[in-house]
Amino acid sequence: MTITSKTIKQWLLSSTVAFTCVAAQTALAGPIENYSPVTPARLENPEPGNWMLYRRTYDGQGYSPLDQINTTNVKNMVPVWTFATGVIEGHEAPPLVNNGVMFITTPMGQVIALNAKTGDQYWRYKRELPEDLFQLHPTNRGVGLWQDKLYLATTDDHLVALDAKTGKVLWDKKVQDYKKGQYLTLMPLIVDGKVIVGGSGGEFGVRGYVVAYDAEDGKELWRTFTIPGEGEPGHDTWSGDDWKSGGGSAWMTGTYDTDTKTVYWGVGNAAPWPGGLHPGDNLYTSSVIALDPATGKIKTHFQYHQNDSWDWDEVDAPMLVDLQRDGRSFKSLIHPGRDAIFWVLERTPERINYVNGWTFVHTDVWKGIEPETGRPIVDPAHKPTLGKRVDFCPSLWGGKDWPSAAYSQKTRFVYVPANENFCGGFTGEKLPLVPGQLWLGTKAEDIGLTVRPGADHFGELQAWDPASGKKVWSHNFPKSQLFGSVTATAGDLVLVGGTNDRMFRAFHAKTGELLWEQKTNSGIMGMPVAYEVDGTQYIAVQSGWGVDAQRIQDALAKGNTGLEDNVPQGGVVWVFAVKK
């Protein structure tokens, strides 16, 4: 194969176009001096120029208050430095920034500390992964920041604490056994000195969990399973022993309500996929659970859909937004779901109430939503079952997979990286569970992705008014899926990659007008961020295609769409600013 040489060639081409100093790739920035400890107060109210949480703020909005780069001058935005990670596969992490220091994570468990202004490297940590590791999702979504430490969750299912100034390992805890299909890809959520992570493994028949560790010494403080055990509320939504291997992985970072001290965590699909193999509602799969971060106790929950049969993880945690609707103000949870439903919920300290829901891409699975309960009404003709091929829309990647939507506090719109016109299907099959092996309830080669007849686009960047439920604008991508997280800024910009043409784009937040684009080395799955150093605003993103964006591309290339399977891999950090 020529992946490596192809990647290097592509990088060189990109570097030539950008005015990037190649020598900077090997320069060392020296020791990190005057590192700013990440305190509880700084996480609760981060400085505008920093990006220290997965979505910058605990509310998960993915919004930067910086406006130096805006709709007027973004046309003059140019690359100021790049940094090749030397790693292939999906680079999904945001470039985190704490007062001039940037932390990058890559697939295969690497962490790189960079000078956010110059791109010079401070240090690099490389996880030594076991040689027999089975990486279904070779990726990582970032390190948690707390005081002068960093926390990396690894695909061999460890939680590793690093010294932020040196990259030295401070402690290393085994979370679960990777040989049984347990792994971690998320950025840990740090709340009040607790490092909170949730496990992957929904395709291996695990019983999902969220677990908290003491940030200082790595002591396990609590572990809450996402599937209730015997005697616990919700256990009766399972039949027999199905709960022991029922999935409910929890592989994305939660959001946090600092007022009520409640963590909201998204929970994944039920396992194996066909619902007939695990009859019942299957709490808390495909749900959001509200956790007390002090104890791990589940305060309340809302299940987006019951008896999941489509591999529709709802792991992307809901955004916390203050909304006005029907003449009243309320504290909402907003979740554009993988199940194709745009969910608006009300959060109170005791309950999560259904407020409104509508489909935001084509689906044939739901006949409607029960108005009182928010329970979607399923069409059994499009619910996978045993022994018969069943097709459904959208595909198993859903209306919006894990890439995050954003909410702008200026426009009050939600920006969704949606995928339209995709359908899927498979034949359910009862197969024995072998620990550590895929357990899908179908043959992997039977999984399909099809395009609806007459489809004129796939990816769709959508702007919604969550208060009214109206779509404000959308931008269609005729020849590409959209598989990257979205970030909004106070400069009225919406930033997103996610397409197979390797572009990074900026849209006008109010109108959807495409204002700027830059072709990068690879496809972008990573989350864009905005930050500021010495009075200059920067935009940063990792370009590095892989994992599910690649899987969709493979399927499209085979599906008579005229598309080629030629998106190069290899990670590069791109940093932009307005040319002065």
């Binding site: 194969m1 992946i3 490596t4 030397g86 790693v87 292939i88 596969e89 295969m108 690497q110 490389k126 996880r127 030594e128 992964l129 076991p130 040689e131 027999d132 590791l133 089975f134 990486q135 279904l136 070779p138 061999d156 590793v160 390992v169 402690w171 290393d172 085994k174 550590g436 092996q437 895929l438 992997a444 080669e445 892989g546 994992v547 690649q550 899987r551 493979d554 290339a557 085979k558 399977d565 891999q569």
Partner: protein, 192 residues
């Protein structure tokens, strides 16, 4: 601290462990010989299905049929080497005339053997389907769609895998399918 042992410490540990288990009962779950890579002289047994554990003979493999998944077996000591997933093997019988010059000497009666672990991210190679680019049936890893052509030394013919599957030379001896030499090439996914 990082609690993964280094390769050297694993090797040393294995040697010590080997020495200390000389008298261990055959098939003991902790027997380090179960983790040892396939050795010259090992037989092969089915790793899955109704015949799991039974010895595979050349007659169990027919041209045109899908691959069989197998574990190596130290026949002298009745040890099935299923202690590491890196030991799992794919066996398939092909038309000997289709095999290239590197592959033919490793085959036995058209039967070829390869590591079942994808060289990309370490997933199991489970499918036998028509190639994405071409008409031949090939091995496919369903995790990330890498495809390997067993006629040409399991060369990568599609997908992100950086190198071919490790090959396991075979010979037919006294009617039995026997491993002729250790793996040729690296077993397992890339780590960085």
């Amino acid at each position: 601290m990082n609690d993964h042992p280094t390769r050297r410490s694993v090797v040393l540990g294995t040697l010590v462990a080997c020495a200390s288990v000389t008298g261990a009962a055959a098939g003991d779950e902790d027997d380090p010989r179960k983790e040892k890579r396939p050795q010259k002289g090992d037989l092969l047994v089915f790793s899955e299905g109704e015949r799991a554990g039974q010895t595979i003979t050349p007659d169990d493999l027919k041209v045109g049929e899908p691959p069989v998944h197998a574990w190596p077996k130290d026949a002298a000591n009745a040890i099935v080497r299923d202690g590491s997933r890196l030991n799992e093997v794919l066996l398939v019988r092909l038309d000997p005339n289709e095999l290239d010059e590197d592959t033919r000497p490793r085959a036995a009666g058209g039967i070829v053997a390869y590591s079942a672990i994808c060289s990309h991210a370490g997933c199991p190679v489970t499918a036998w389907i028509k190639a994405t680019e071409g008409n031949d049936e090939v091995f496919k890893c369903m995790c990330h769609n890498s495809e390997y052509d067993p006629r040409r030394g399991a060369q990568v013919v599609f997908g992100p895998a950086p190198r071919r599957l490790a090959a396991l030379p075979l010979v037919i001896k006294d009617g039995a399918l026997v491993i002729a030499a250790p793996f040729i090439g690296k077993v397992g996914g890339q780590q960085g």
